[in-house]
Amino acid sequence: MAARLGLRFAALGYLAALLVFPVGLVFWRTFQHGIGPVIDAATAPEALHALWLTIIIALIVVPANTVFGIVCALVIVRDNFRWKGVLNAVIDLPFALSPVVIGLALYLVYARTGWLGDWLVGHGINVIFALPGMILATIFVSLPFVVRETIPVLREVGIEQEEAAWTLGASPLSTFFRVTMPAIRWGVTYGIVLTTARAIGEFGAVSIVSGSIAGRTETLTLHVQNRFQSFDLTGAYTASVELALLALITLLLMTLLRKETPGGDSDSSGHEALR
């Protein structure tokens, strides 16, 4: 009993010291001088633009990586081909590489002096220091989450339910939507939560490809950095709180979604299988 209490204390203490306390402090500092300065900071045109940009990027990146992630997981689990091992390893690349390196790599390819950039800019398409580059960078860094969360669930579920659906007359597409997706939904959901968090919070790669131009290519994270460096602490804290709220809303939406699905919690074998 004492040992268990000790373990509990260690786990909670660790979380409190490293996570809860610093984040709590940010909230406290933000509202230190009342709500007025916070509203002013949050409604400044540059701050609003940063919030909007962050949301736009997440709205494009998350669906893209969700679709790609499910397709990739299906290919890795269900298909057998020669380069499967390579594909499996490449998907983890964004985990292994520092985001700064990813940003630089994209810069090398798409900048005006880059490999593809010259041609693209010649055709009026700006990637670097513009939204397309920021989206590419965010897709890159948040690529593995849905794949990695879906693969173990897909393995655990097995192929029998799908085979049963085929013999009952369901087409492959119909089988996917009626049988496969419901069976793997919690793995995918968790992958989406992680992807969203990563997309909203990405800093390094986006910082390189965006140029971090206030009011134009500045996301919320970059806005925090810029405000902080200009000694506008209230601005930095306010943007930080907005980031935290975005993450909270994502989690809340997923929890609500989970509650509303019938039969959802009784068979959620998915979560134990996650990593």
Partner: protein, 326 residues
Amino acid sequence: MAIAIRRVTKRFGDYLAVDDVSLAIASGSLTALLGPSGSGKSTLLRIVAGLEHPDEGSVSIHGDDATGLPPQKRGVGFVFQHYAAFKHMSVRDNVGFALKIRRRPKSEIRDRVGELLRLVQLDGLADRYPSQLSGGQRQRMALARALAAEPRVLLLDEPFGALDARVRKELRAWLRRLHEEVPVTTVLVTHDQEEAMDVADRVAVMNDGRIEQTGKPRDLYEHPANEFVMSFVGPANRLGEAWIRPHDLEVRHEPNGSSTEAMIERVVHLGFEVRAELVLDDGRRVAAQVTRAEADELDLHEGQTVFVRPSRTHVFSAVGTPPGSS
């Protein structure tokens, strides 16, 4: 013929799972594919269902060539060993799945599902989820689901394999009755010879990807074609070249002509029958099976010396015997 399998071969890499198998299954019959694990029986069933594609050979169902057809278009019902229940759907939605896919009117689906649930004795459980059912109930739900679209053939892959012995016996008897009520051509894969003999009216014995013998359960037992069938279908003793069923071994107190002396090592009471495990004078071990009355009369007990004589033996020529089956 409801199902005609012609010269079907299937390899998985270097492994030959089904080796040039031909089999005809009559309409309305209940046929068991019986064999040890790895004998290719499940693969053959999956080929009939279209879940695997044969490397060579053809499959036709009710006269139509089905070899190239996907499982959706074969008109088969398939039941899996581990139920393959749709876990996120209620029992009602599981059973109605095939009808929903076929876009039948809601009222028709409701009526048909109700009818099927009564047939498999699950009425009242329609709103449960598979996780709230016992194994036997799940498998009956899977059967109802497979029957919903009125398949031309019903394929059962070790359907009772994951259930405990008592439930398995109950379901066997129930399946037999169901087959009489809904006489759809049924193929059952099993590794349990008792189950095959109990349920099926024809049995095909498989080994190493080939069919060793096809026949009525009794014929397989009485007239096995080779050593493998002899040893796999029912208990068997081997004495030199001869094979003897344990109940074909007479046990006496006194020597009688060609009888052999034996010592009883163990007496096993199986209910109506008693099995005596014997060591012959040359050290070989055999089992004899007698009724309890006979055992009482002979007062069989461990350490006792008795004389045994086979009343019936089976001798197989080496030709056509698969290697390694002895």
